[in-house]
């Protein structure tokens, strides 16, 4: 008889917490950079120096200079304010407004719910970015209008999540108990429903930061976002694309900045999703 072999199974170590801290810190650094960007630039990002135009990356200008001789590193750093800050503003606004609409519809049910959901269907029926371009085009360019346009295309997603979660929670026995405790509708919504539905909504919005940043840059690239001379990353790329062959660094440096920050926020979103989902972590 053969001896039974004992197999040991390697338990994968849970790295979610470590990843969360790591990406959290990276994201925080980005945000802090965008808040204090004016103090971090080696040169004045708007100072033109035509003698030094289109200079390739060197020790004095790490990312080179653009066609007017402005230091690209400074412009990328200053651009983080427009890009990161407006993205966070956009995601924050759309999360709050979408959730409000969804909870309102889910809580009231009946006709209000139907009307709200049909409206959100209408918004979802258009291809997202094309619709945003149309809205931004009608409103005219500018970062503010680009934010409004992107809010218009992205609120239905939040409204739908919030609505379906509210419908689930609405039937829970603990809400009946809260009602019997004499809590009014406002208290029930804010104290009982919101804390119980906020998890999946927060995860969605974290995952959305990367997408929104891209779409905002996309609108700016098309000339519907930030207006020159604002150093927004998307519009900078668009502006310099004629120089792609002669001075590629002018296009590449904001591109790399978008790439890195989108990646950081996406990975942070993924990590938060893993962290919030207890099934993927055990108890």
């Amino acid at each position: 008889m053969r001896e039974p072999t004992v197999r040991t199974q390697k338990i994968k170590k849970d790295t979610t917490r470590t990843r969360l801290i790591f990406f959290g810190i990276l994201a925080l650094i980005l945000i802090i950079c965008s808040v204090f960007c004016e103090y971090l630039t080696p040169y004045d990002p708007y100072l033109q120096d035509l003698k030094n135009a289109k200079a390739p990356p060197s020790l004095s200008h790490l990312f080179g200079t653009d066609r007017y001789g402005r230091d690209m590193l400074s412009r990328v750093i200053v651009g983080s304010k427009a890009s990161i800050f407006s993205t966070l503003l956009l995601v924050g606004l759309v999360t709050v407004l979408g959730t409000m609409a969804g909870v309102f519809g889910g809580w009231h049910g009946k006709r209000i719910d139907t009307v709200l959901m049909r409206i959100s269907d209408m918004f979802l029926a258009f291809p997202g970015l094309v619709f945003a371009m149309a809205v931004a085009g009608v409103l005219g360019g500018g970062l503010q209008n680009a934010i409004i346009a992107l809010m218009a295309i992205s609120w239905p997603k939040y409204a739908r999540i919030a609505r379906s979660e509210t419908l689930v929670q609405k039937e829970a026995p603990y809400l009946k108990a809260a009602r019997l405790s004499g809590s009014g509708t406002l208290k029930i919504v804010f104290k009982h429903i919101l804390p119980n539905i906020i998890g999946p909504i927060l995860v969605t919005s974290m995952l959305d930061i990367g997408t929104m940043m891209m779409e905002l840059a996309g609108l700016s690239f098309l000339g519907l976002g930030a207006k020159p001379p604002t150093a927004e990353w998307g519009s900078r790329m668009s502006d310099a694309r004629s120089l792609l062959s002669s001075a590629p660094w002018v296009t590449l440096s904001p591109g790399v900045a978008i790439f890195i920050s989108v990646m950081i926020f996406n990975l942070l979103g993924d990590t938060i999703r893993d962290y919030a989902d207890p099934k993927s972590r055990g108890r």
Partner: protein
């Protein structure tokens, strides 16, 4: 006090659904509970027990009939008025763990009705501690979350929550059904203790499908079958001499 603690007359609930025949879940149910009395409502699952109590607590709107609590008609009350009524009527739910908000501590849940009725944070905390002691829970349970305690402990907390506002009528909707037999016994003992402490004040409507438990615990029994009350009377009399064929079957099944 001559007027009954609760008087329900011709209470009816009809569920209508498109493309389906109307379903009468509760059909002209009438009964009353005197102050200090404990009435048992029994019936098989699907007989409409929960629908009846959901209508009495106004979590569900009745199709017809009236509900009178201490001489006050609450059938059509809404909003603020209704919230005042809940100070006199409380309910213990069938599923203890789910009747507490998973994001709030048990202490918060128990104290919610006190806070809503204008007690200060400190008063509420002291009262919650006292209630938990009455219900046999140690003080540190106040800071625990529903998923951190057992079903029996959670049900004790639910009873503490129901008693917090000192109601005149306590409705127990199958409060012991999801618990195992020994814990069930403890909860019944707790309810009995509370009844004796409060003398004649607290009336209880005890919903149950276990006629043996009703016999132990209640003065009077109402038998609900397919949405109608088929028999009611003193517990012992009904059990000794059942009139309705369903009641007979119910009693035969446990003997």
């Amino acid at each position: 006090m001559d007027q009954p603690a609760l008087k329900v007359s011709h209470l009816t609930k009809v569920f209508t659904r498109k493309g389906q025949p109307d379903f009468t879940a509760v059909d002209h149910v009438s009964f009353s509970i005197q102050a200090g009395e404990c009435a048992g409502l029994i019936g098989e699952s699907g007989s409409g027990k929960t629908t009846v109590v959901n209508m009495i607590t106004r979590l569900l709107d009745p199709t017809g009939g009236s509900i009178v609590l201490n001489g006050e008609d609450i059938t059509r009350m809404r909003g603020k008025e209704l919230r005042k009524v809940y100070a006199r009527m409380q309910m213990v739910f069938q599923t203890p763990a789910e009747s507490f908000d998973p994001r709030c501590t048990l202490g918060d849940g128990i104290g919610e009705s006190l806070r809503n009725n204008g007690r200060s944070r400190r008063e509420t905390r002291d009262e919650v501690a006292r209630l938990m002691e009455v219900c046999g829970l140690s003080a540190d349970f106040a800071s625990r979350y529903p998923h951190q305690v057992s079903g029996g402990e959670c049900q004790r907390a639910a009873i503490a929550r129901a008693l917090a506002i000192k109601p005149r009528l306590l409705i127990c909707d199958e409060a012991t059904s999801s618990l195992d037999v020994t814990i069930q016994k403890e909860i019944i003992a707790l309810l009995n203790k509370l009844r004796r402490e409060k003398d004649s004040d607290l009336s209880i409507l005890f919903i149950c499908h276990d006629i043996a438990l009703v016999q132990q615990f209640c003065n009077r029994v109402l038998v609900l079958y397919k949405g109608k009350i088929v028999e009611q009377g003193e517990v012992d009399a009904v059990i000794r001499n059942p009139q309705d064929p369903y009641t007979r079957r119910l009693i035969d099944s446990i003997l």
